[in-house]
Amino acid sequence: MTDRITNAMLTRTVLADLAGVADRLARTNAKLSSGKELTRPSDDPFAVSRALAYHGDLDANRQYQRNVEEASSWQTVTDTALASVGDLTLRVRELVLQGGTGTVDASGRKAIATEVGQLIEAVKSAGNTQYADRYVFSGSLTLTAPYTPNGADTYFGDTAALKREIGPGVQLDLNVDGSSVIGGGASGLLKTLRDVESHLLAGDTNSLQSGDLAALDTAQDAIGNARAVVGARAGRLDAAQERLSQLEEQTVRLLSETEDADIAKTLVDLSTQQAVYQSALKASAAIIQPSLLDFLR
């Protein structure tokens, strides 16, 4: 016996088919309007977990880039300050050479000593350089000015290294502490400068020519070294920046491949499904209408 086809069956089938096509159409529409291939975890659980991981990577990456930018700016500010300290030291060296000879009289040396005194203030002011309201040479005591203008030469910072993260687990020392370059109290550049000042006033040309010049050269070397370190850090930061932005680009691409809808393909899908839906509607209108009833008198 062949299967009987009853009216209820026809209606059911037509309704179920129409619902199926309409459901697919709605999904395609949602994909198009959101631009996303994934709208809920069950669309593709593993793609969603990948997308979550990429989102996390991207967040972290952008944060690292911000960290790098921040650290780079810090290095720039540090380097500028160190450069000016270097220039000031050079100027003092010239003055020592000038005042260390016997050709300058006491009043001339006093004038030179006055200039050295002002240069010392300039060095201290460079040591008090701030970046975003923070003293860059204070070690971890960033809210405390490391040097007191027109006062004692004591260093008020500490020697702690500030660390920043520029990649997963990759840390970088950020700062140069003032005591190692500019010194303070009884040592370092400031002490040398004070010595120069007092030797000039006292007319002690011997000390000026031997000890002070050598000490200035040592200080100059320390500044040079510090600038080299800062320069190397800046280079490392630039490299990190470049690597991070490459990584970002790559992750964005992967993320887009994972969660973004292929618009061209989706549009083709949409028009196909629309055509199917319309023909399904036409077919159902046609299939339910005629019955034997229409042909009986």
Binding site: T6, A8, D43, P45, S49, H55, R62, S138, P168
Partner: protein, 445 residues
């Protein structure tokens, strides 16, 4: 043995009556073409008792032997097995859809994004530990994360409690349907004992049994008197004309399928599973953060206090003190060093630390989402499969029991013509007898 002259009249009359009954049945079928659960009827016609003569048996026309309800019981059994599964998966799917809606992943507002923002805020504090504004941002983003955990947790609880409410309502429905089945059993027994086939009652009862199967795993057995004994999840709800109410879900000792099992599974297994995972995640984050936070120093140079309060996803919050005064965030690794951010760095580093049974917080969250996604995907697939199977079986049932209007129209013509022909036969008989009675033996009159 002589044969009566009027035998033919009787035969024709039987024909007329039988065709008329068949027409009545056809008309009944047409009228019920769209009635839910209706099984088409058929008038079973068979030759009436023949008249035995020396020359053999002489037919005496037709009788309506009975009115048959066309139904395939085997299809009912198959269909109900699928309806059960379909009910189970649909109940689960409803709950899982709702959970999927609450997690809002992947998106910029889900917990994953909140976690990302939280970790980034720690890095910002590393970059500027002295800055109250960045600390404020961290406190706000941490609070947003805590809110995210709490919201998700409470939404999961809502799904579980809705499932619980739904279980109560479904049990009520099972009880009310069972009562109606028991009442129908009574009517069916009465009708059977009076010797008639209660087709309409049987149809009505089958609709109810279909419904019961959707609600729970149901076994039905029919007794000799026509009554159906119904067991749901191992609990006998209908026996003869007596219905027993289910008072609690625990009455159903072997509940394995149907809507009730789906809801129970959702309430007792699925949702609690997610809640446990989410709690473990939040708990690990709270513990690790607070432990590390206590090792650092705040801006005033004192040891850090608890950063988060609470122990689970349901009660996680940022300590009120920190929200009110972000300088209490212990970013420094040394007392009185405002520019030091060693501890903030360590806290930001928790992002890459395996805190939740061998996985980082982000990974554990992603695993939770993947599990939810897989569960929902699997349930949706099963739900669609069982529905398709049930639909196809329902189609086959309709093919057997449903009304085909074309067929009924054909029958209408068939029986109408049969009626007309029987009437014509009666006319022929009448004319013959007229000839015999009124015109025979009138020669010469």
């Amino acid at each position: 043995m002589p044969i009566s002259t009027f035998l033919g009249v009787q035969t024709a009359l039987r024909g007329i009556l039988a065709q008329q009954r068949a027409l009545d049945v056809t008309s009944h079928n047409i009228a019920n073409a769209n009635t839910v659960g209706f099984s088409r009827r058929e008038a079973v016609l068979s030759p009436s008792e023949p008249f035995t003569t020396v020359n053999g048996q002489l037919g005496t026309g037709v009788d309506v032997e009975g009115y048959r309800r066309i139904r395939d019981n085997f299809l009912d059994v198959q269909l109900r097995a699928q309806t059960m599964r379909s009910g189970f998966y649909r109940a689960r799917q409803d709950g899982l859809d709702q959970i999927e809606g609450s997690v809002r992943e992947p998106s910029d507002s889900g917990l994953g994004a909140l976690l990302g923002r939280y970790w980034s805020s720690w890095q910002d504090v590393v970059n500027a530990p002295e800055n109250i504004a960045t600390r404020q941002t961290l406190a706000q983003n941490a609070a947003a994360l805590a809110d995210g955990f709490q919201t998700l947790s409470s939404q999961l609880q809502t799904v579980a409690s809705q499932a619980n409410t739904n279980i109560g309502l479904t049990i009520d429905e099972v009880n009310s349907v069972s009562t109606r089945v028991a009442a129908l059993n009574g009517s069916i027994i009465l009708a059977r004992s009076a010797g008639s086939e209660p087709s309409d009652l049987l149809d009505e009862r089958d609709v109810l049994l279909d419904r019961l199967n959707e609600l729970g795993n149901t076994t039905t057995s029919e007794a000799a008197d026509g009554s159906a004994t119904v067991q749901i999840g191992g609990f006998t709800t209908v026996s003869g004309i007596a219905a027993t109410s289910i008072s609690a879900l625990s009455d159903l000792t072997s509940l394995t399928s149907g809507k009730l099992a789906g809801l129970k599974d959702l309430r007792d297994v699925t949702v609690p599973g997610y809640v446990t995972d989410l709690d473990a995640l939040a708990g690990a984050l709270i513990t690790a953060t607070n432990t590390q936070h206590a090792l650092g120093y705040d801006l005033a140079g004192t040891f850090g206090t608890a950063f988060f309060t609470g122990t689970t996803a349901a009660d996680i919050a940022v300590s009120a003190g920190i929200v009110a005064d972000p300088s209490l965030i212990a970013a420094a690794g040394a007392a009185g060093a405002p520019g030091d951010s060693t501890n903030a760095l360590a806290l930001a580093g928790l992002r890459r630390t395996a805190l939740v049974s061998g996985a980082t917080v982000d990974t554990a969250y992603s695993q939770l989402i993947t599990r939810l996604g897989s569960d929902a995907q699997e349930t949706r697939r099963q739900s669609a499969n069982t529905k398709a199977l049930a639909d196809s079986l329902e189609g086959r049932r309709q093919s057997v029991s449903g009304v085909s209007l074309d067929e009924e129209m054909t029958n209408l013509i068939r029986y109408q013509r049969g009626f007309q022909a029987s009437a014509r036969a009666l006319t022929a008989m009448d004319e013959m007898i007229d000839l015999l009675i009124n015109r025979t033996g009138r020669v010469g009159m």
